[in-house]
Each structure stands twice: as structure tokens, then as C-alpha cells.
């Protein structure tokens, strides 16, 4: 027996009563609720439409306009290396240092590793590397400026000249003008020690650098004559010894203003321009009282008053000058 075989009478249920009422038959709260409901529906619809439209747009871009995609999304081969520096290093040095494989892609590079390679050269003090899409790698570095030079010898190796920056870091000094390097004084009386990353910074270079900078700026005629800077008594006595090309020894104190000491030296040099009594030693580390030693003849290397044949009065005081034809470097020290 099936329901279709019967013609059942229609019975109406209360559910057939339409529940809609006109807004004017509603109370204020009812109208407010209705408005809120409509607003929620509108906002919900707008959100759904907005999200759908956004998704559609993204899908369309991904599907049809691959050329409109941002370049950053592509991973291209590195075609160009750009170096921005405040020093003398050039692009060849950069290429050699980074040694990037020819087929390396820009996104495939490990920038941290490349930066470590750049910073491994002590001449570079800071470095930053950025990818410039689609195919350019830009390296920005700041370089150390040399204030002095020194000779160092690795065990079993030949002596090698190193440049020393203001912060005491010694570096090979690639790309500097040889004429400029020739003007730099040699360092003496220093102790070098090796670390896993290279040489330890030289102690006291900041004081030396200040002295050299003051001399170069205020009395360049004197500075040009400075050949060796000895730091042998810097740590113990606070004194910097300067040996000039003409055999004079000048002692600077680190406690007093360098400018004042240079001015005194300049005055002394000007005052004692007697070629028969050349200045042999000037001690500027004692303040206003400046002991001065005169020689009797033109300085000779490893000269001593006794050897020159002068009497004691004319050769006084008895001072033994170090050899300055070549800077004294402790080449026996292991680096």
C-alpha cells in the first residue's frame, strides 16, 4: 500500500502562517535588529565577494601573466657584480675573493658566506651584500686606511710588508699606490701574535696614529723625514720614539698634547740649523723642559761618538743610535 494510492485531505499547519511582518508593525528594537541583520548580511556578502574577487585576480595573474610577476620572484643567473667602496679595492679583487660559480643563480647564493669571504680580507672593515634582481649582486664595503707599515715573516716564508691601520689591524694592502706606501713610516718595537683569524691588533696604534696624523697635518716637513716609529717604550713609559731619515731620535710623550710637542720640535729644528751641530736626540716627553742632544757631524749608520773620533765634550751626550737604514723588525718572531 502506498501513500500515492490515497487522496489524503490537505491539512494546514501553523507553519504555513507567513512570519514576515511589515517594518511599521515592528517595535523600535525589532527594527534595529532587522537593520543589524541586513547590515551583517551586506558586510558578509561584501567580504565574500571581495575575497573571491581577490582570489580570482591572483589566479588570473598566476595563470596568464607570468611576465607581469615581480622580478624578485624569478631566480636568474648572476651576470653582474657591483662593488661600492670608499677605498682602493676593485672589481677584480671582488671577483677573485667571492669566486662565484658561473652558473650560480642570484637566489642560490649564500649571502652570509659571501660576506664572510669579503671580511676575511683584513683590509675590509665592514661589508654588506644585497641581491639586485634580476641578476646583479651588489657589495658595499668600507676599507681600512694605512697609517704605518711593517715587515713580517711567516715561519719558513719570505719577509713581507704589511700595512697597519689606525685600529692596529695589519693587512696586505692591495691596490694602494706604491708612492703613497713609500711615505708611510715603519713600525718598530712591536710584538706580533697570531690568532686563528690572522694577526692580533697591535696595541697602542691609536696613539701612534694620532701622533702621525697631527704631524702630517701640522708639520708635514718634519713628518716626511720620519722613517721609523718605535713602540718599544710605549707600554712601559708612555713614550713613542721616532727615528728620522737623518739619524735623529725624537721621543714623544703620550700624556701631553702632540700638537704642543710637535710645535716645540719644529722650533728646536728651526733654531738648531747649524750643520756642524746637528740634533741627535730630542726628548719631548718631559714637558716644557726638552733635553736635546747634539751631534758633531753628519750621522752615519751605526755611528758612535768614539768611532767618529770626536772628543767627549763635542760628542756629548754619548748616545748610541739604532740602525735606521732598514727598520728593525723582530723577524725571528714566529707569526
Amino acid at each position: 500500500m502506498s501513500k500515492d494510492t490515497y487522496a489524503l485531505p490537505e491539512t494546514r499547519s501553523w507553519r504555513e502562517i507567513p512570519q514576515q511582518v511589515r517594518p511599521r508593525a515592528m517595535s523600535m528594537e525589532g527594527r534595529r535588529r532587522m537593520a543589524m541583520g541586513v547590515m551583517r548580511a551586506v558586510i558578509g556578502t561584501a567580504v565574500i565577494v571581495g575575497v573571491s574577487w581577490g582570489a580570482w585576480e591572483v589566479a588570473a595573474v598566476l595563470r596568464d601573466k607570468t611576465d607581469a610577476m615581480p622580478d624578485a620572484a624569478k631566480s636568474d643567473r648572476v651576470r653582474s657584480l657591483v662593488l661600492a667602496t670608499d677605498g682602493v679595492l676593485d672589481r677584480n679583487w671582488l671577483a677573485k675573493t667571492l669566486s662565484i660559480a658561473p652558473d650560480a643563480t642570484l637566489m642560490g647564493l649564500d649571502l652570509n658566506q659571501l660576506r664572510a669571504k669579503v671580511l676575511a680580507d683584513e683590509q675590509v672593515s665592514t661589508a654588506s651584500i644585497v641581491r639586485n634582481f634580476p641578476d646583479t649582486l651588489t657589495v658595499r664595503i668600507s676599507e681600512r686606511s694605512p697609517v704605518a707599515r711593517m715587515m713580517a715573516q711567516a715561519p719558513g716564508g719570505a719577509p713581507k710588508m704589511l700595512l697597519v691601520a689606525r685600529d692596529g689591524i695589519a693587512f696586505a694592502g692591495v691596490g694602494f699606490d706604491p708612492a703613497m706606501v713609500e711615505t708611510l713610516p715603519w713600525l718598530d718595537g712591536i710584538t706580533l701574535s697570531r690568532t686563528p683569524r690572522g694577526l692580533e691588533p697591535i696595541e697602542g696604534m691609536r696613539l701612534v696614529s694620532d701622533l702621525l696624523a697631527s704631524a702630517k697635518l701640522e708639520a708635514e716637513n718634519l713628518y716626511r723625514n720620519w722613517q721609523v716609529i718605535s713602540l718599544a717604550h710605549l707600554a712601559t713609559d708612555g713614550e713613542i720614539e721616532v727615528h728620522t731619515r737623518d739619524g735623529m731620535k725624537i721621543i714623544f710623550g703620550t700624556k701631553e698634547d702632540y700638537l704642543r710637542q710637535i710645535a716645540r720640535l719644529d722650533l728646536l729644528v728651526d733654531e738648531s740649523n747649524d750643520p756642524t751641530r746637528p740634533l741627535r736626540e730630542v726628548n719631548l716627553a718631559l714637558g716644557a723642559q726638552v733635553p736635546v742632544a747634539y751631534g758633531t757631524a753628519a750621522p752615519t749608520l751605526n755611528a758612535s761618538p768614539a768611532a767618529s773620533g770626536l772628543d767627549a765634550h763635542s760628542a756629548a751626550p754619548q748616545i748610541a743610535f739604532p740602525s735606521i737604514s732598514t727598520p728593525h723588525i723582530d723577524v725571528h718572531r714566529e707569526l
Binding site: M1, S2, K3, Y6, L8, P9, E10, T11, R12, S13, W14, E16, I17, Q19, Q20, V21, A25, M26, S27, E29, G30, R31, R33, M34, G37
Partner: protein
């Protein structure tokens, strides 16, 4: 709060007051979280006669309840009462289709449709179809007879129907608050569900809810509602009779009824007098206590006799072991239980809410609203479960093959 939590409002638009309860329904349990109450205006005998006044009061009660719960109601279960509600019984039977006489779901559905199909007079609409237990070859089956073996399947429905306009008015009052009426629940079923236990309903019990304008009753047998009805007489008529009999205003009569009214005459001294106000104010008067008690007792007895008469043959003390349970505001009249016991010839008691109901909601005035909530949820759950069963994929496929 989980996403499937709903906030259900139970609304009773009564003659004297409008009650709203808000329940938080999680799908497993319902917790009452808000209550709102407001004096009723524009409602007489459960029917809306002044739309604006009734709307104002109802919306006020809804707002109070929402403020109390601090939540917004999602939809509403609405109590339905009034003299326009009527009921009739209709039954149908059918021979079981299968050759092995095993009853299938199709048989059950067909017999139910037949039993419910009864043409109503113009302007009448079904409010409830209350199914009575199935019978298989005369054997009572309280649950589903599916897979039982028998030749003849019978079922009967007690159909409650009401006047379309009055039902629509009640719904539109709620709709004016922009809330959907999800379920209409007969007041008698709601309050009866609250004040009777499952065991009482199984043994037979009569629940009478005496409101201000109407009295709703439901007779349970075999665990299911057997007969329901509404008498358009309530506690308000007691007040009205005192007012006429003692020549008082409604307000004064209500006061006397609440203080001295009884469902059985207790005063022996006919000369005993009681003060109207009792505060020595100017105009305070004395009235005979015996007269007050006589009026209320006569009215109470008359009301209960009307109920008994409307139940007719359906009610028999021997088939109503649970007795009579009285609830509603009118049940607070002293002696009403004894009066009911006399009229119905069986035990009678005042209904009490289950122990888990909050102390604030244990007053008989809240029983209907509470019942709406719990009865409505159970009805809706049954309907959802039936819909799920009906819509099962495998079941549909099976039916397709069966029909071919």
C-alpha cells in the same frame, strides 16, 4: 562558547503576565541563562486583542531577558493557549505490506499520514499532532513498531487545531521583535511535561494548569498525551466573581482573593469579618470571610467540574493512577488540591518543578515557560532525528529499489 550553541527564547504570552526564559542549548543540554517578566496588556483569555499593547509588553519582557542573559535570542518557542484551541482524535489502520508481515518504515509512515489526514474547517490550522502508541494486531507498542511482525498496524493522533488569525497574531507579536517562531507548544503540554514524571505519565495522570484567563489540561496515558484541552476560565474569573459579589474593584477583589480566597470553605463562623486593607486607612472596609471563601470555592469547583466534563469518558479514576497535578498561578489557591481530589475522585497534588530547577524559577507561574523550553527542545530534536533518518542515502537507495 562553541559555534553550534543556540540561544532559545521560551515565551508565554499570558493574560496576567508575559514570561520569557532564555536557554543556552549546546545540542546536548539546555541551561537557563536569562529570565524576563512583564505585566500583560492587550491579551484576554490567551488571545491578543490589542496588538500594540501586547507587542509592547512582550518586547519589553524579551529585552529584559536578553539583558539578563547578556545574549541575543536566536529563535523562539511560543506557548499557545486560548479558547479557540480544540482537539479531536483520529485513527487509521493498515494491513502490513510485506509478505513476511514484518513492519517496515514505509508502513509506519503511511499509517501515520492516514491518521493525521483530516480535513479541518475553513480558517483552522493544526497546532499539534500528538501521536498515541501504535497497536500491532491489538498489541500496544509504545515505541516504533519497525521490524515487528503483525498483520494489522493501527495508530491514532490527537490533533489540536486553532483559529488561523489568532495563531498568526501571536506569531506576529514575536516577529515584530525580528525573531523567528521555531515551535508552537501547547501550554498544557509544556506545564504537564514539567510537573509530571515519566512514571506518572506511564500510569496515567491529569495535569491542570490554572492560569489567569484560561485553564489548560492534559491527560497522559501510556506515557503519551492522550487528550488536551483549554477552558476559557481561569483565576481572573475568581477575582471577577468576588468583585461582583462584594461590589469591589478588580484590584480590591484580587487582593481579597489572594489573602482570603480558598478552594474549600473553611470558615465556620459566618459572622467573621476581614479587613480589605487592614492598615486602618480611610475607606478600609470589612467583608465576611465566609462569603469570600464561598465564592472562590464555588468557582474553583465549577472550573474543575468543567474540566472533568470536557474530559468526558476519556478520564476514569482507575486509569489515572498518577492522580491530578495542579499548577499555574491559580493552583496557589489554598485547598485546590483537596477540591480537585473531590471532583475527580482520585488523589491530587500541587505540581512542583524538578529538583534541578533553580529556586527562583520554582514558582508555579514559571512551569509553563520552563516546559516550553524543555518540551520544545525535545520535539525539535525528535524532528531533526527523523529528518536525518528519512534522508539517509542508503535508505533512499533501498526505497528506490523497493519501489521498482
Amino acid at each position: 562558547m562553541s559555534s553550534n550553541t543556540t540561544f532559545i527564547g521560551a515565551v508565554e504570552i499570558g493574560t496576567s503576565k508575559i514570561t520569557v526564559l532564555i536557554g543556552e542549548f549546546t545540542g546536548r543540554e539546555i541551561v537557563i541563562i536569562g529570565c524576563g517578566e512583564c505585566s500583560s496588556r492587550g491579551v484576554i483569555k490567551g488571545s491578543v486583542v490589542d496588538y500594540r499593547a501586547a507587542t509592547e509588553c512582550t518586547h519589553n519582557a524579551l529585552e529584559i531577558a536578553e539583558r539578563d542573559a547578556n545574549e541575543r535570542i536566536d529563535y523562539v518557542y511560543l506557548a499557545q493557549t486560548g479558547g479557540h484551541l480544540e482537539g479531536f482524535y483520529n485513527e487509521a489502520s493498515l494491513n502490513v505490506k510485506a509478505a513476511d508481515n514484518m513492519i517496515e518504515m514505509d508502513d509506519i509512515r503511511t499509517v501515520c499520514d492516514l491518521a493525521k489526514a483530516k480535513e479541518l474547517p475553513l480558517g483552522r490550522m493544526v497546532v499539534h499532532n500528538i501521536r498515541r502508541p501504535f497497536r500491532v494486531d491489538g498489541r500496544l507498542v509504545p515505541t516504533s513498531p519497525e521490524n515487528l511482525v503483525g498483520q494489522r498496524l493501527e495508530v491514532g493522533y490527537w490533533t489540536v487545531h486553532g483559529q488561523e488569525q489568532r495563531l498568526a497574531d501571536n506569531i506576529h507579536v514575536i516577529r515584530g521583535f525580528n525573531l523567528e517562531v521555531r515551535e508552537l507548544v501547547l501550554s498544557s503540554l509544556a506545564s504537564g511535561h514539567m510537573v509530571t514524571s515519566m512514571e506518572e505519565r506511564q500510569n496515567g495522570v491529569l495535569a491542570i494548569d490554572i492560569g489567569a484567563g484560561t485553564t489548560d489540561y492534559v491527560l497522559y496515558r501510556n506515557g503519551a498525551p492522550h487528550t488536551t484541552g483549554v477552558v476559557a476560565v481561569g483565576g481572573g474569573h475568581f477575582t471577577n466573581d468576588i468583585s461582583i459579589g462584594l461590589r469591589l474593584t478588580e484590584c480590591q477583589a484580587e487582593k481579597l482573593k489572594l489573602r482570603f480566597g480558598r478552594a474549600q470553605v473553611q470558615a465556620r463562623d459566618k459572622g467573621e469579618k476581614v479587613w480589605l486593607d487592614g492598615n486602618y486607612s480611610i475607606g478600609d472596609r470589612q467583608f465576611p470571610r465566609h462569603a469570600i471563601e464561598s465564592i472562590t470555592a464555588a468557582r474553583a469547583r465549577e472550573l474543575l467540574e468543567v474540566v472533568r466534563k470536557k474530559l468526558g469518558q476519556g478520564f476514569a479514576p482507575e486509569s489515572c493512577a498518577g492522580g491530578v497535578v495542579l499548577t499555574g498561578g491559580g493552583a496557589k489557591l489554598p485547598g485546590i488540591a483537596e477540591c480537585a481530589a473531590n471532583v475527580f475522585g482520585t488523589s491530587a497534588r500541587l505540581g512542583e518543578a524538578p529538583s534541578w530547577v533553580n529556586e527562583n524559577l520554582r514558582d508555579p507561574g514559571y512551569h509553563t515557560a520552563l516546559g516550553i523550553l524543555y518540551y520544545g527542545v525535545s520535539v525539535q530534536s525528535d524532528r531533526s532525528a527523523a529528518a536525518r533518518r528519512k534522508g539517509g542515502f542508503l535508505r533512499n537507495v533501498t526505497r528506490l529499489f523497493a519501489s521498482t
